[in-house]
């Protein structure tokens, strides 16, 4: 392919040397300016509302050196608060992993009258203000419980509140994956002699795993951070039912900003780790196609 036939009419100014670089066009310049202005505005907005305030928390909490930070988060009160928060959140995450997957399964594979309503109800904890969620649970599981179950001021009360607000995460991440899961694979496994349990364990579970982990991580992050729903039911008893968020508020109210910021920094770090983990899980899931 050496011959290049140039049309006869093309008396191109084929001058020697490099062709001149096209100057950036007006439209292109406008486009770039638009990107720059938009990006600048977005960054200022994010900085004023999110980044600078969060940086201030970390600065206040850890700015005076690791020693101060460590002391602030290992006071007996802070320690018991953080341990309770992390412990309760882990328990809630595991319960969500199992029950959330189970609910997603029932919503996708089972059919019964009223399924659409149940499906809509799953999102209720997202829509309901957390303080209302707390009040609602306290009404059923509080001192005046019509069932005679009183979880108020108990750690179990905290766990129930966290279960309520984190319910949608695993269900809503697993459900769409389960919906798209190719039924042929299961039938293929069955035709190869695998029983239902084996099929679930070897075929379905590996496909759901990224979604299950994502949902569980989200639920964990939410549980760690939760405040509103636990306020009323926990009764806010130090060394017993006081979760991290509640402890931060009482520190703020007693004007111990440094102490509040130290515990807040721990929560922030956990949040950041979870976000980055989720990013990694998503890439991992995407790669497995």
């Amino acid at each position: 392919m050496t011959t290049t036939v140039v049309p006869a009419g093309a008396a191109a100014p084929a001058g020697p040397g490099q062709p001149e670089k096209v100057p950036v066009s007006a439209g292109r310049r406008q486009h770039r300016a638009g990107t720059a202005i938009g990006l600048g505005t977005a960054i200022i907005y994010l900085s004023l509302i999110v980044l600078i305030p969060l940086a201030a928390v970390v600065w206040k909490g850890a700015g005076r050196g690791p020693g101060f930070f460590w002391d602030a988060i290992t006071t007996p009160e802070a320690k018991s608060t953080l341990l309770l928060t992390v412990g309760a959140s882990m328990l809630v995450a595991v319960l969500n992993l199992v029950l959330g997957t189970l609910i997603a399964w029932v919503l996708v594979r089972d059919s019964f009258p009223g399924k659409t309503i149940v499906d809509t109800l799953i999102d209720l904890p997202f829509a309901l203000p957390t303080i209302v969620a707390g009040l609602v649970l306290l009404t059923l599981y509080g001192p005046k419980s019509p069932l005679g179950i009183n979880l108020a001021y108990q750690r179990s009360g905290v766990v129930v509140a966290l279960l309520f607000v984190t319910l949608p995460f695993v269900v809503r991440t697993v459900q769409p994956v389960l919906l798209e899961l190719d039924r042929d694979m299961e039938q293929a496994a069955a035709s190869l002699g695998a029983g239902p349990w084996l099929t679930f364990r070897r075929i379905i579970l590996p496909n759901l795993l990224p979604a299950m982990i994502s949902g569980t991580a989200l639920a964990f992050a939410r549980a760690i951070a939760e405040y509103g729903s636990t306020v009323l039911i926990s009764g806010n008893i130090p060394f017993k039912t006081q979760v991290a968020s509640v402890q931060i508020v009482s520190q703020i109210e007693s004007d111990n900003m440094a102490g509040a910021a130290a515990v807040a920094t721990v929560l922030l770090v956990v949040a950041l780790v979870v976000l980055l983990t989720l990013d990694l899980i998503q890439r991992w899931g995407a790669r497995r196609g």
């Binding site: 638009g34 977005a42 509302i49 969060l54 829509a127 957390t130 303080i131 209302v132 951070a225 931060i248």
Partner: protein, 262 residues
Amino acid sequence: MAKYALRAVALGYLMFLLVIPTGLIFWKTFSAGIGPFFEALTSPSALHAFQVTLIVAVWAVVLNTIFGVGTALLLVRRQFPGKRVLNLLVDLPVAVSPVVVGLALILVYGAFSPAGAALAKVGIQIIFSLPGMVLATVFVSLPLVVRAIAPVLEELGTDQEQAALTLGANPIQTFVRITLPGIRWALGYGIVLCLARSLGEYGAVAVVSGRIVDQTQTLTLFVEERFTNFEEGQAYAASVALALIAVVSLLLTKLLRPKEDR
């Protein structure tokens, strides 16, 4: 058999966690008739709380809608260094505890911070007043509009926008006549999510508002204050009002949720 066992476990769990508790406060509120419910909600304090809630929520929704549309356009339509970082930053507020949000804003805009002191000098008070509550609400509901629009914008592609350009439309005409109608359902969905979250925010607002009755008290703060002051009737009434808003927004989002072939 296994099928029914699974169904029983799932429904039983949802029953005791969601349905019975929520139903119970409706029953408690309305067992004495609808009169006390309205009476509780029309007390001056309740009305004031409604008003504050609405002002804060509308501000937050307006700001986050503008930011959300702009940022979604940037993330989907433009190329620039640091895009992945911006993408992560937009999601950050979801993972931050509302209480930490409140603390963060106090540290930067409170009376004892340099910025807060400077603003106080020109007569602007952020913390313990409406601007701080708006900031807190904006923070917690920040990603909702972006995340609702971005995938739809991605799927919409650039063909229609380019066609509009070749037909002589300028960028603003293209946005208003082509892009905006293309994302209108997703935008509606995002706005409803943002509004619901804003109306119901408790923790962040609790911290920055100072919980001053009849001044910075939103509806969620009203619920907590009345409950702890043994005015259960009023607390239940306000809770039911908030729950009704939640149910309505839930149904609206169901309706608006981006579907195939819209």
